[in-house]
Amino acid sequence: MADVMMAEPSSSTSALTRREHLAKTFEAYRAELDANTETRERLIILSRSITQMSKKLIFHLHRGATSGLVARAKNIRDGKGKEKEIIANFEKIRAELGSGESAESFWRWARPVSPGLEEYIEAVSFLFYLETGRLISLAEVQKGLSNPQTEEPYVVVTPEDYILGMSDLTGELMRYATNALSTGDHETPLAVCEFVRTVKVYFDGIPPYQLHKLSKKQDETTRSLVKIEKVCYSLRLRLIEFADRPDILRQMASRAL
Protein backbone atom coordinates (compact mmCIF):
# COMPACT_ATOMS: atom_id res chain seq x y z
CA MET A 1 0.00 0.00 0.00
CA ALA A 2 2.94 2.26 0.68
CA ASP A 3 3.80 1.85 -2.95
CA VAL A 4 0.50 3.27 -3.91
CA MET A 5 1.00 6.15 -1.56
CA MET A 6 4.40 6.81 -3.05
CA ALA A 7 3.17 6.46 -6.55
CA GLU A 8 0.59 9.17 -5.99
CA PRO A 9 2.66 12.35 -6.23
CA SER A 10 4.45 11.31 -9.41
CA SER A 11 1.16 10.15 -10.81
CA SER A 12 -0.53 13.45 -10.21
CA THR A 13 2.44 15.43 -11.52
CA SER A 14 2.49 13.49 -14.74
CA ALA A 15 -1.26 13.68 -14.98
CA LEU A 16 -1.03 17.41 -14.67
CA THR A 17 1.44 17.43 -17.51
CA ARG A 18 -0.83 15.56 -19.87
CA ARG A 19 -3.81 17.43 -18.58
CA GLU A 20 -2.14 20.77 -19.08
CA HIS A 21 -1.19 19.76 -22.57
CA LEU A 22 -4.75 18.72 -23.34
CA ALA A 23 -6.08 21.88 -21.75
CA LYS A 24 -4.15 23.97 -24.23
CA THR A 25 -5.54 21.95 -27.16
CA PHE A 26 -9.07 22.10 -25.84
CA GLU A 27 -8.91 25.80 -25.17
CA ALA A 28 -8.26 26.13 -28.90
CA TYR A 29 -11.33 23.95 -29.55
CA ARG A 30 -13.34 26.11 -27.20
CA ALA A 31 -12.33 29.23 -29.11
CA GLU A 32 -13.31 27.53 -32.37
CA LEU A 33 -16.69 26.32 -31.09
CA ASP A 34 -17.44 29.73 -29.54
CA ALA A 35 -16.57 31.48 -32.81
CA ASN A 36 -18.83 29.08 -34.70
CA THR A 37 -21.69 29.77 -32.35
CA GLU A 38 -21.28 33.50 -32.84
CA THR A 39 -21.14 33.17 -36.62
CA ARG A 40 -24.26 31.04 -36.58
CA GLU A 41 -26.10 33.60 -34.46
CA ARG A 42 -25.14 36.45 -36.80
CA LEU A 43 -26.28 34.43 -39.80
CA ILE A 44 -29.59 33.61 -38.14
CA ILE A 45 -30.17 37.29 -37.52
CA LEU A 46 -29.43 38.13 -41.16
CA SER A 47 -31.60 35.27 -42.34
CA ARG A 48 -34.53 36.39 -40.17
CA SER A 49 -34.19 39.89 -41.48
CA ILE A 50 -34.22 38.61 -45.09
CA THR A 51 -37.37 36.65 -44.27
CA GLN A 52 -39.10 39.75 -42.90
CA MET A 53 -38.13 41.89 -45.87
CA SER A 54 -39.18 39.24 -48.38
CA LYS A 55 -42.57 38.88 -46.74
CA LYS A 56 -42.98 42.64 -46.94
CA LEU A 57 -42.01 42.60 -50.61
CA ILE A 58 -44.67 39.98 -51.31
CA PHE A 59 -47.34 42.10 -49.60
CA HIS A 60 -46.14 45.09 -51.55
CA LEU A 61 -46.46 43.20 -54.84
CA HIS A 62 -49.98 41.99 -54.04
CA ARG A 63 -50.99 45.58 -53.40
CA GLY A 64 -50.06 46.60 -56.93
CA ALA A 65 -50.79 43.37 -58.77
CA THR A 66 -54.44 44.13 -59.45
CA SER A 67 -54.06 47.84 -60.25
CA GLY A 68 -54.02 49.51 -63.63
CA LEU A 69 -51.04 49.26 -65.93
CA VAL A 70 -49.27 52.42 -64.81
CA ALA A 71 -49.69 51.83 -61.09
CA ARG A 72 -48.61 48.27 -61.64
CA ALA A 73 -45.41 49.28 -63.40
CA LYS A 74 -44.55 51.66 -60.58
CA ASN A 75 -45.31 48.97 -58.02
CA ILE A 76 -42.91 46.60 -59.73
CA ARG A 77 -40.23 49.30 -59.94
CA ASP A 78 -40.59 49.93 -56.21
CA GLY A 79 -40.51 46.20 -55.64
CA LYS A 80 -37.19 45.98 -57.40
CA GLY A 81 -35.83 48.61 -55.09
CA LYS A 82 -36.92 46.51 -52.12
CA GLU A 83 -35.32 43.47 -53.69
CA LYS A 84 -32.01 45.36 -53.88
CA GLU A 85 -32.21 45.98 -50.13
CA ILE A 86 -32.67 42.28 -49.54
CA ILE A 87 -29.71 41.43 -51.75
CA ALA A 88 -27.60 43.77 -49.66
CA ASN A 89 -28.27 41.42 -46.75
CA PHE A 90 -27.06 38.45 -48.76
CA GLU A 91 -23.91 40.45 -49.44
CA LYS A 92 -23.52 40.80 -45.68
CA ILE A 93 -23.87 37.02 -45.34
CA ARG A 94 -21.09 36.56 -47.84
CA ALA A 95 -18.95 39.04 -45.91
CA GLU A 96 -19.68 37.06 -42.75
CA LEU A 97 -18.45 33.86 -44.39
CA GLY A 98 -15.33 35.38 -45.87
CA SER A 99 -14.63 35.11 -49.57
CA GLY A 100 -12.10 33.77 -52.06
CA GLU A 101 -10.14 31.07 -50.31
CA SER A 102 -12.79 30.12 -47.78
CA ALA A 103 -15.58 30.14 -50.35
CA GLU A 104 -16.49 26.60 -49.46
CA SER A 105 -17.70 27.60 -46.07
CA PHE A 106 -21.13 28.51 -47.44
CA TRP A 107 -22.11 24.87 -47.29
CA ARG A 108 -21.10 24.74 -43.69
CA TRP A 109 -23.61 27.44 -42.84
CA ALA A 110 -26.34 26.58 -45.30
CA ARG A 111 -28.77 25.54 -42.59
CA PRO A 112 -29.13 28.85 -40.70
CA VAL A 113 -29.26 30.75 -44.00
CA SER A 114 -31.83 28.61 -45.80
CA PRO A 115 -35.11 29.90 -44.26
CA GLY A 116 -34.35 33.42 -45.47
CA LEU A 117 -33.13 32.18 -48.82
CA GLU A 118 -36.32 30.23 -49.44
CA GLU A 119 -38.52 33.20 -48.61
CA TYR A 120 -36.41 35.41 -50.89
CA ILE A 121 -36.76 33.00 -53.79
CA GLU A 122 -40.51 33.02 -53.28
CA ALA A 123 -40.59 36.82 -53.35
CA VAL A 124 -38.28 37.29 -56.31
CA SER A 125 -40.05 34.68 -58.41
CA PHE A 126 -43.37 36.40 -57.71
CA LEU A 127 -41.86 39.72 -58.75
CA PHE A 128 -40.50 38.12 -61.90
CA TYR A 129 -43.83 36.50 -62.74
CA LEU A 130 -45.72 39.76 -62.34
CA GLU A 131 -43.25 41.59 -64.52
CA THR A 132 -42.79 39.04 -67.29
CA GLY A 133 -45.49 36.40 -66.88
CA ARG A 134 -42.65 33.90 -66.90
CA LEU A 135 -41.05 31.50 -64.47
CA ILE A 136 -37.71 32.74 -63.24
CA SER A 137 -34.96 30.20 -63.81
CA LEU A 138 -32.49 28.90 -61.25
CA ALA A 139 -29.68 30.61 -63.17
CA GLU A 140 -31.53 33.93 -62.99
CA VAL A 141 -32.07 33.59 -59.25
CA GLN A 142 -28.42 32.71 -58.78
CA LYS A 143 -27.35 35.65 -60.91
CA GLY A 144 -29.34 38.02 -58.72
CA LEU A 145 -27.57 36.60 -55.68
CA SER A 146 -24.08 37.02 -57.11
CA ASN A 147 -21.60 39.83 -57.12
CA PRO A 148 -22.32 41.70 -60.36
CA GLN A 149 -18.62 42.29 -60.95
CA THR A 150 -16.93 39.04 -59.97
CA GLU A 151 -20.03 36.86 -60.52
CA GLU A 152 -19.07 35.16 -57.30
CA PRO A 153 -22.27 33.93 -55.59
CA TYR A 154 -23.15 35.50 -52.27
CA VAL A 155 -24.87 32.25 -51.39
CA VAL A 156 -25.35 29.20 -53.57
CA VAL A 157 -28.91 28.46 -54.67
CA THR A 158 -29.42 24.73 -54.95
CA PRO A 159 -32.09 23.04 -57.06
CA GLU A 160 -33.70 22.09 -53.73
CA ASP A 161 -33.94 25.72 -52.59
CA TYR A 162 -35.28 26.74 -55.98
CA ILE A 163 -37.91 24.01 -56.13
CA LEU A 164 -39.11 24.63 -52.59
CA GLY A 165 -39.30 28.35 -53.32
CA MET A 166 -41.37 27.72 -56.47
CA SER A 167 -43.63 25.51 -54.44
CA ASP A 168 -44.31 28.47 -52.12
CA LEU A 169 -44.81 30.71 -55.13
CA THR A 170 -47.91 28.74 -56.12
CA GLY A 171 -49.56 29.86 -52.88
CA GLU A 172 -48.95 33.52 -53.68
CA LEU A 173 -50.19 32.98 -57.24
CA MET A 174 -53.39 31.51 -55.84
CA ARG A 175 -53.94 34.71 -53.84
CA TYR A 176 -53.11 36.79 -56.90
CA ALA A 177 -55.56 34.89 -59.11
CA THR A 178 -58.37 35.15 -56.56
CA ASN A 179 -57.83 38.86 -56.02
CA ALA A 180 -57.72 39.37 -59.78
CA LEU A 181 -61.16 37.79 -60.18
CA SER A 182 -62.73 40.35 -57.86
CA THR A 183 -61.38 43.17 -59.98
CA GLY A 184 -63.01 41.66 -63.06
CA ASP A 185 -59.74 40.50 -64.55
CA HIS A 186 -60.74 37.33 -66.37
CA GLU A 187 -57.47 36.35 -67.95
CA THR A 188 -55.15 36.18 -64.96
CA PRO A 189 -56.94 33.27 -63.23
CA LEU A 190 -56.85 31.13 -66.37
CA ALA A 191 -53.18 31.92 -67.03
CA VAL A 192 -52.21 31.27 -63.42
CA CYS A 193 -54.19 28.02 -63.42
CA GLU A 194 -52.32 26.72 -66.44
CA PHE A 195 -49.02 27.84 -64.94
CA VAL A 196 -49.56 26.25 -61.53
CA ARG A 197 -50.90 23.06 -63.11
CA THR A 198 -47.73 22.73 -65.17
CA VAL A 199 -45.49 23.33 -62.15
CA LYS A 200 -47.43 20.75 -60.19
CA VAL A 201 -47.15 18.11 -62.92
CA TYR A 202 -43.39 18.59 -63.06
CA PHE A 203 -42.99 18.47 -59.31
CA ASP A 204 -45.22 15.38 -59.09
CA GLY A 205 -42.60 13.65 -61.20
CA ILE A 206 -39.82 14.21 -58.65
CA PRO A 207 -39.29 10.97 -56.67
CA PRO A 208 -39.84 11.65 -52.96
CA TYR A 209 -36.42 10.36 -51.95
CA GLN A 210 -34.77 13.09 -54.02
CA LEU A 211 -36.44 15.91 -52.13
CA HIS A 212 -38.15 14.83 -48.99
CA LYS A 213 -39.47 18.24 -47.94
CA LEU A 214 -41.33 18.65 -51.23
CA SER A 215 -44.07 16.11 -50.57
CA LYS A 216 -45.66 18.19 -47.79
CA LYS A 217 -45.39 21.31 -49.92
CA GLN A 218 -46.96 19.50 -52.87
CA ASP A 219 -50.06 18.96 -50.75
CA GLU A 220 -50.16 22.72 -50.24
CA THR A 221 -49.64 23.27 -53.98
CA THR A 222 -52.51 20.90 -54.71
CA ARG A 223 -54.73 22.84 -52.35
CA SER A 224 -53.75 26.08 -54.06
CA LEU A 225 -54.40 24.59 -57.50
CA VAL A 226 -57.83 23.36 -56.42
CA LYS A 227 -58.64 26.87 -55.20
CA ILE A 228 -57.48 28.39 -58.47
CA GLU A 229 -59.51 25.86 -60.41
CA LYS A 230 -62.58 26.86 -58.42
CA VAL A 231 -61.93 30.49 -59.30
CA CYS A 232 -61.73 29.54 -62.98
CA TYR A 233 -64.93 27.57 -62.61
CA SER A 234 -66.84 30.57 -61.18
CA LEU A 235 -65.32 32.67 -63.88
CA ARG A 236 -66.56 30.34 -66.61
CA LEU A 237 -70.07 30.28 -65.14
CA ARG A 238 -70.06 34.05 -65.00
CA LEU A 239 -68.79 34.44 -68.55
CA ILE A 240 -71.51 32.11 -69.79
CA GLU A 241 -74.23 34.05 -68.02
CA PHE A 242 -72.90 37.33 -69.38
CA ALA A 243 -72.29 35.99 -72.85
CA ASP A 244 -74.96 38.25 -74.37
CA ARG A 245 -74.21 41.25 -72.12
CA PRO A 246 -70.49 42.01 -72.53
CA ASP A 247 -71.30 45.67 -71.74
CA ILE A 248 -72.30 44.84 -68.21
CA LEU A 249 -69.26 42.68 -67.72
CA ARG A 250 -67.01 45.54 -68.81
CA GLN A 251 -68.82 47.99 -66.62
CA MET A 252 -68.57 45.75 -63.57
CA ALA A 253 -64.90 45.15 -64.18
CA SER A 254 -64.08 48.83 -64.38
CA ARG A 255 -66.18 49.48 -61.29
CA ALA A 256 -63.83 47.45 -59.16
CA LEU A 257 -60.70 49.40 -59.94
Partner: protein, 242 residues
Protein backbone atom coordinates in the same frame (compact mmCIF):
# COMPACT_ATOMS: atom_id res chain seq x y z
CA UNK B 1 -53.51 35.69 -81.28
CA UNK B 2 -50.53 37.34 -79.70
CA UNK B 3 -52.03 36.25 -76.40
CA UNK B 4 -51.99 32.69 -77.67
CA UNK B 5 -48.37 33.05 -78.73
CA UNK B 6 -47.58 34.60 -75.38
CA UNK B 7 -49.23 31.72 -73.65
CA UNK B 8 -47.34 29.15 -75.69
CA UNK B 9 -44.14 31.05 -74.99
CA UNK B 10 -44.87 31.05 -71.29
CA UNK B 11 -45.58 27.34 -71.23
CA UNK B 12 -42.39 26.64 -73.19
CA UNK B 13 -40.45 28.76 -70.72
CA UNK B 14 -41.91 26.87 -67.78
CA UNK B 15 -41.14 23.55 -69.45
CA UNK B 16 -37.54 24.44 -70.20
CA UNK B 17 -36.86 25.93 -66.78
CA UNK B 18 -38.35 23.07 -64.80
CA UNK B 19 -36.85 20.35 -66.97
CA UNK B 20 -33.44 21.87 -66.40
CA UNK B 21 -33.79 22.26 -62.65
CA UNK B 22 -35.17 18.76 -62.20
CA UNK B 23 -32.22 17.51 -64.23
CA UNK B 24 -29.88 19.32 -61.86
CA UNK B 25 -31.67 17.79 -58.89
CA UNK B 26 -31.16 14.35 -60.35
CA UNK B 27 -27.49 15.03 -61.01
CA UNK B 28 -27.10 15.95 -57.37
CA UNK B 29 -28.95 12.87 -56.25
CA UNK B 30 -26.52 10.86 -58.35
CA UNK B 31 -23.52 12.56 -56.78
CA UNK B 32 -24.91 11.75 -53.36
CA UNK B 33 -25.46 8.14 -54.36
CA UNK B 34 -21.99 7.85 -55.84
CA UNK B 35 -20.44 9.23 -52.67
CA UNK B 36 -22.41 6.83 -50.54
CA UNK B 37 -21.27 3.92 -52.67
CA UNK B 38 -17.67 5.08 -52.59
CA UNK B 39 -17.88 5.08 -48.80
CA UNK B 40 -19.08 1.49 -48.58
CA UNK B 41 -15.69 -0.24 -48.89
CA UNK B 42 -14.26 2.23 -46.38
CA UNK B 43 -17.06 1.39 -43.97
CA UNK B 44 -16.05 -2.24 -44.31
CA UNK B 45 -12.59 -1.38 -43.02
CA UNK B 46 -14.05 0.78 -40.29
CA UNK B 47 -16.15 -2.15 -39.08
CA UNK B 48 -13.15 -4.48 -39.19
CA UNK B 49 -11.07 -2.06 -37.16
CA UNK B 50 -13.74 -1.95 -34.46
CA UNK B 51 -14.16 -5.73 -34.50
CA UNK B 52 -10.42 -6.09 -34.05
CA UNK B 53 -10.46 -3.76 -31.06
CA UNK B 54 -13.35 -5.69 -29.60
CA UNK B 55 -10.89 -8.51 -28.95
CA UNK B 56 -9.18 -6.36 -26.34
CA UNK B 57 -11.98 -7.22 -23.94
CA UNK B 58 -11.10 -10.90 -23.78
CA UNK B 59 -7.40 -10.82 -24.65
CA UNK B 60 -4.55 -11.15 -22.12
CA UNK B 61 -2.51 -8.02 -21.53
CA UNK B 62 0.34 -9.38 -23.59
CA UNK B 63 -1.77 -9.50 -26.76
CA UNK B 64 -3.11 -5.97 -26.53
CA UNK B 65 -0.35 -4.20 -28.40
CA UNK B 66 -0.61 -6.60 -31.32
CA UNK B 67 -4.38 -6.13 -31.51
CA UNK B 68 -3.99 -2.38 -31.60
CA UNK B 69 -1.35 -2.54 -34.30
CA UNK B 70 -3.62 -4.73 -36.41
CA UNK B 71 -6.42 -2.25 -35.87
CA UNK B 72 -4.27 0.66 -37.06
CA UNK B 73 -3.11 -1.44 -40.01
CA UNK B 74 -6.73 -1.97 -40.98
CA UNK B 75 -7.38 1.74 -40.74
CA UNK B 76 -4.36 2.33 -42.95
CA UNK B 77 -5.75 -0.01 -45.60
CA UNK B 78 -8.63 2.41 -46.11
CA UNK B 79 -6.28 5.31 -46.84
CA UNK B 80 -6.10 5.00 -50.64
CA UNK B 81 -9.87 4.73 -50.91
CA UNK B 82 -10.47 8.27 -49.67
CA UNK B 83 -9.06 9.64 -52.90
CA UNK B 84 -12.01 8.03 -54.74
CA UNK B 85 -14.42 9.79 -52.43
CA UNK B 86 -12.62 13.07 -52.82
CA UNK B 87 -12.86 12.97 -56.62
CA UNK B 88 -16.64 12.83 -56.39
CA UNK B 89 -16.97 16.00 -54.33
CA UNK B 90 -17.16 19.20 -56.40
CA UNK B 91 -14.74 21.90 -55.41
CA UNK B 92 -15.75 23.81 -52.32
CA UNK B 93 -18.59 21.47 -51.45
CA UNK B 94 -17.13 19.29 -48.72
CA UNK B 95 -19.59 20.55 -46.15
CA UNK B 96 -22.46 19.79 -48.50
CA UNK B 97 -21.75 16.10 -48.21
CA UNK B 98 -20.24 15.96 -44.74
CA UNK B 99 -23.53 14.54 -43.42
CA UNK B 100 -22.58 11.30 -45.20
CA UNK B 101 -18.86 11.33 -44.41
CA UNK B 102 -19.00 12.48 -40.79
CA UNK B 103 -20.28 9.29 -39.14
CA UNK B 104 -17.53 7.30 -40.82
CA UNK B 105 -14.85 9.74 -39.67
CA UNK B 106 -16.15 9.49 -36.11
CA UNK B 107 -15.94 5.74 -36.22
CA UNK B 108 -12.33 5.87 -37.43
CA UNK B 109 -11.40 8.39 -34.76
CA UNK B 110 -12.88 6.04 -32.17
CA UNK B 111 -10.70 3.16 -33.41
CA UNK B 112 -7.56 5.22 -33.77
CA UNK B 113 -7.86 6.97 -30.43
CA UNK B 114 -8.55 3.63 -28.76
CA UNK B 115 -5.51 1.93 -30.28
CA UNK B 116 -3.23 4.88 -29.60
CA UNK B 117 -4.36 5.09 -26.01
CA UNK B 118 -3.54 1.42 -25.40
CA UNK B 119 -0.26 1.69 -27.26
CA UNK B 120 0.98 5.09 -26.12
CA UNK B 121 -1.29 6.17 -23.26
CA UNK B 122 -2.12 9.35 -25.15
CA UNK B 123 -5.12 11.14 -26.61
CA UNK B 124 -4.31 11.11 -30.28
CA UNK B 125 -4.40 14.67 -31.67
CA UNK B 126 -6.88 15.38 -34.44
CA UNK B 127 -4.07 16.08 -36.86
CA UNK B 128 -2.48 12.69 -36.24
CA UNK B 129 -5.82 10.92 -36.46
CA UNK B 130 -6.52 12.55 -39.82
CA UNK B 131 -3.10 11.47 -41.07
CA UNK B 132 -3.61 7.90 -39.92
CA UNK B 133 -6.93 7.85 -41.75
CA UNK B 134 -5.24 9.13 -44.86
CA UNK B 135 -6.89 12.51 -44.96
CA UNK B 136 -5.03 15.72 -45.54
CA UNK B 137 -2.88 14.53 -48.43
CA UNK B 138 -2.94 16.09 -51.90
CA UNK B 139 -5.21 13.46 -53.35
CA UNK B 140 -7.91 13.77 -50.69
CA UNK B 141 -8.55 17.38 -51.64
CA UNK B 142 -11.00 19.11 -49.38
CA UNK B 143 -11.81 16.05 -47.32
CA UNK B 144 -11.14 16.83 -43.72
CA UNK B 145 -11.67 15.62 -40.22
CA UNK B 146 -13.85 18.28 -38.63
CA UNK B 147 -13.43 19.30 -35.01
CA UNK B 148 -16.93 18.08 -34.27
CA UNK B 149 -16.30 14.63 -35.74
CA UNK B 150 -13.00 14.33 -33.90
CA UNK B 151 -14.56 15.35 -30.60
CA UNK B 152 -17.46 12.93 -31.02
CA UNK B 153 -15.19 10.10 -32.12
CA UNK B 154 -13.06 10.49 -29.00
CA UNK B 155 -16.12 10.28 -26.77
CA UNK B 156 -17.14 7.11 -28.61
CA UNK B 157 -13.83 5.65 -27.57
CA UNK B 158 -14.12 6.74 -23.95
CA UNK B 159 -17.55 5.06 -23.83
CA UNK B 160 -15.77 1.74 -24.40
CA UNK B 161 -13.25 2.14 -21.59
CA UNK B 162 -15.37 1.22 -18.56
CA UNK B 163 -16.09 -2.13 -20.17
CA UNK B 164 -12.41 -2.66 -20.89
CA UNK B 165 -11.50 -1.70 -17.34
CA UNK B 166 -13.87 -4.28 -15.93
CA UNK B 167 -12.83 -7.04 -18.27
CA UNK B 168 -9.18 -6.29 -17.49
CA UNK B 169 -9.87 -7.05 -13.85
CA UNK B 170 -11.58 -10.31 -14.81
CA UNK B 171 -8.45 -11.16 -16.77
CA UNK B 172 -6.33 -10.31 -13.72
CA UNK B 173 -4.80 -7.29 -15.45
CA UNK B 174 -4.82 -4.77 -12.59
CA UNK B 175 -2.61 -2.11 -14.15
CA UNK B 176 -4.88 -1.22 -17.02
CA UNK B 177 -7.82 0.07 -14.91
CA UNK B 178 -5.53 2.58 -13.20
CA UNK B 179 -4.21 3.78 -16.52
CA UNK B 180 -7.74 4.02 -17.90
CA UNK B 181 -9.09 6.00 -14.94
CA UNK B 182 -6.32 8.56 -15.19
CA UNK B 183 -6.88 8.92 -18.91
CA UNK B 184 -10.66 9.27 -18.70
CA UNK B 185 -10.24 11.84 -15.96
CA UNK B 186 -7.95 13.91 -18.18
CA UNK B 187 -10.27 13.64 -21.14
CA UNK B 188 -13.29 14.58 -19.05
CA UNK B 189 -11.56 17.65 -17.65
CA UNK B 190 -10.56 18.67 -21.17
CA UNK B 191 -14.09 18.40 -22.52
CA UNK B 192 -15.32 20.38 -19.55
CA UNK B 193 -13.45 23.34 -20.99
CA UNK B 194 -15.85 23.52 -23.93
CA UNK B 195 -19.05 25.56 -24.16
CA UNK B 196 -21.47 23.28 -25.93
CA UNK B 197 -24.77 23.92 -27.65
CA UNK B 198 -27.73 21.63 -27.15
CA UNK B 199 -26.56 19.33 -29.92
CA UNK B 200 -25.37 15.76 -30.20
CA UNK B 201 -21.92 16.58 -28.88
CA UNK B 202 -23.49 18.02 -25.74
CA UNK B 203 -25.55 14.89 -25.21
CA UNK B 204 -22.53 12.68 -25.67
CA UNK B 205 -20.46 14.83 -23.33
CA UNK B 206 -23.12 14.39 -20.68
CA UNK B 207 -22.54 10.64 -20.90
CA UNK B 208 -18.83 11.02 -20.13
CA UNK B 209 -19.33 11.65 -16.44
CA UNK B 210 -20.86 8.21 -15.99
CA UNK B 211 -17.91 6.60 -17.75
CA UNK B 212 -15.55 8.49 -15.50
CA UNK B 213 -17.43 7.38 -12.40
CA UNK B 214 -17.41 3.75 -13.52
CA UNK B 215 -13.67 3.80 -14.25
CA UNK B 216 -12.90 5.44 -10.92
CA UNK B 217 -15.05 2.86 -9.15
CA UNK B 218 -12.89 0.06 -10.51
CA UNK B 219 -9.77 1.74 -9.16
CA UNK B 220 -11.48 2.19 -5.77
CA UNK B 221 -12.34 -1.52 -5.78
CA UNK B 222 -8.79 -2.53 -6.62
CA UNK B 223 -7.19 -0.12 -4.18
CA UNK B 224 -9.40 -1.35 -1.36
CA UNK B 225 -8.23 -4.89 -2.02
CA UNK B 226 -4.62 -3.87 -2.44
CA UNK B 227 -4.59 -5.00 -6.03
CA UNK B 228 -3.06 -1.87 -7.52
CA UNK B 229 0.24 -2.14 -5.66
CA UNK B 230 3.13 -1.70 -8.05
CA UNK B 231 0.98 -1.60 -11.12
CA UNK B 232 -0.11 1.92 -10.32
CA UNK B 233 3.50 3.00 -10.26
CA UNK B 234 4.04 1.04 -13.43
CA UNK B 235 1.14 2.60 -15.25
CA UNK B 236 1.74 6.12 -14.09
CA UNK B 237 5.48 5.97 -14.47
CA UNK B 238 5.05 4.96 -18.06
CA UNK B 239 2.60 7.71 -18.66
CA UNK B 240 5.21 10.36 -17.89
CA UNK B 241 7.42 8.87 -20.58
CA UNK B 242 4.67 8.80 -23.14
Amino acid sequence: MSAATDNKGRIANVDATLTSVIGQLETEANVKKAIRESLEPIEEFSRSALTELNKLHSAPASDQAAICERCLATVAKAQPLWADVSKLIPKGEFYRYSFAIGPLCRSFVTSIAFARFILHDELVPAFTAANLMGLGGDDTGELQLTADDYLQGVIGMVNELPRLSINAVTAQNFALPVKIAAFVNDVFQSYSLLNLRNDQLRRRFDSLKYDLKRCEDVVYDLTLRGLTAGTAAEANGEKTNA
